[in-house]
């Protein structure tokens, strides 16, 4: 049922508070509500932090409890947590949300145009397939279905590339 546990070395994402948005490693547990936490590679000083503001990630580091910052840093860099984190979907979603919030009026226009173009392409392909399907009958329909999702992926890429460009 539960897959991520609070343990020594668990990397957690801070959801709110002064260090919102940063990653920390749990170094020790103080009591039911707080943990000793350290984020040498993410700019968080070693401090007590309530569990409530932490959200557990999939990463676990190996170091003994109450290990000093140097050890935590070594373990962090060995595991390359920063890069692994940036590759997760979680981090990408956060990034996308931030970009969307920063969009200027001009960017919104460009996105609208890109979306429109993409939808047109998709619709065009759909219509083609539907036409084929209505002409030929049941058997050719089944073979044509797997083609659709492939073509849908192509127009996605130019839209994401445009968003990343701005």
């Amino acid at each position: 049922v539960f897959k991520r546990f609070v343990e020594i070395g668990r990397v957690a994402f801070i959801a709110f508070g002064p260090h919102a948005g940063k990653l920390v490693a749990i170094v020790d547990v103080i009591d039911q509500n707080r943990a000793l936490v350290d984020g040498p590679c993410s700019g968080v000083r070693r401090q007590a932090m309530p569990f409530k503001c932490m959200q557990l990630t999939d990463f676990v580091l190996k170091f003994p409890h109450s290990a000093r910052q140097k050890c935590v840093r070594r373990a962090w860099e060995k595991e390359n947590i920063n890069e692994k984190w940036a590759a997760t979907r979680w981090a990408k979603k956060i990034d996308a949300r931030q970009k969307k919030a920063k969009m200027t009026d001009f960017d919104r226009y460009k996105v609208m145009k890109a979306k429109k173009m993409r939808n047109r392409i998709i619709k065009h392909e759909m219509k083609k397939l539907q036409k084929l399907a209505s002409q030929k009958g049941k058997k050719p329909e089944k073979s044509e279905k797997p083609e659709k999702p492939e073509k849908a992926k192509k127009p996605e890429k130019p839209k994401k590339a445009q968003k990343a460009q701005k």
Partner: protein, 284 residues
């Protein structure tokens, strides 16, 4: 005392005469007529602030009776002497009226207020509109794309050119893109976006001022009532000057707009809000 006085008087007198020429010659480099050396005080001091002779005695001693000067008449005073005409004769019609009347040019007032209007003290810091400080938001710089919020062009995105003397913003569509001509817009009724067009090389003609854009109204109803409505401009006609100015500015601005991809389409589109879009959350 008297004996002493006499030679004292004469010597300085001689000094004066003697020194006229050398003094004149010394200063002759500049002006020959000018200041003669001044005589020492002819009123010996008895105690500080108290002179030996009275005012009238001094008048005599200084021979002011023969030294009366008047200041040269200035041009203003000369003009004042030329008295303006007080009356004028005007011809009068009618048979038995005698051909003309003598009419006063400046007549007596027809009303004298019984109470004096209290003179208002000068108020502090209340300036007329022409002297007001004009401010411009930091987000609005030449070349910024603005969104007009009021007027017949509401929702249109437009390029900002410069701020005019009264503080209004000079703005252009450009006309070819969204049918907004060279026009004035009010700073308060405009959203400044962060999109900027590089207008540094664009030269805006200097005659585009507030007076150029001011609405013209005819107010001379000398005709009878029936014709009043005709004389006032109902239909606004675009003058040739406006067209030529529009072309001159737009050609330069359009060249810059074409350099940015998709900007032309952006300026053609209009701004609108839809469900879930909140202006306070939008970044412009």
């Amino acid at each position: 005392m008297a004996g002493e006085k006499a030679p004292v008087e004469k010597n300085p007198g001689k000094k004066k005469a003697g020194e006229k020429k050398p003094a004149g010659q010394k200063e002759g480099g500049e002006k020959k007529k000018k200041v003669k050396k001044h005589h020492a005080s002819r009123n010996p001091v008895l105690a500080r602030g108290i002179g030996r002779y009275s005012r009238s005695a001094m008048y005599a001693r200084k021979a002011l009776y023969k030294r009366k000067y008047t200041a040269p008449e200035t041009k203003i005073e000369k003009k004042k002497k030329e008295m303006p005409r007080a009356t004028i004769t005007k011809p009068v019609g009618g048979d038995k009226n005698g051909g003309s009347r003598v009419v006063k040019i400046r007549k007596m007032p027809r009303y004298y207020p019984t109470e004096d209007v209290p003179r208002k003290l000068l108020s502090h810091g209340k300036k007329p509109f022409c002297q007001h400080k004009r401010r411009l938001r930091a987000s609005i710089t030449p070349g910024t794309v603005l969104i007009l919020l009021t007027g017949r062009h509401r929702g249109k995105r437009v390029v900002f050119l410069k701020q005019l003397g009264t503080g209004l913003l000079l703005v252009t569509g450009p006309l070819a893109i969204n049918r907004v001509p060279l026009r004035r817009a009010h700073q308060k009724f405009v959203i400044a976006t962060s999109t900027k067009v590089d207008i540094s090389g664009v030269k805006i003609p200097k005659h585009l001022t507030d007076a150029y854009f001011k609405k013209k109204r005819l107010r001379k109803p000398k005709h009878q009532e029936g014709e009043i409505f005709d004389t006032e401009k109902e239909k606004y006609e675009i003058t040739e000057q406006r067209k030529s100015d529009q072309k001159a500015v737009d050609s330069q601005v359009l060249a810059q707009i074409k350099k940015v991809p998709q900007l032309r389409g952006y300026l053609r589109s209009t701004f609108s809000l839809s469900n879930g879009v909140y202006p306070h959350k939008l970044v412009f």
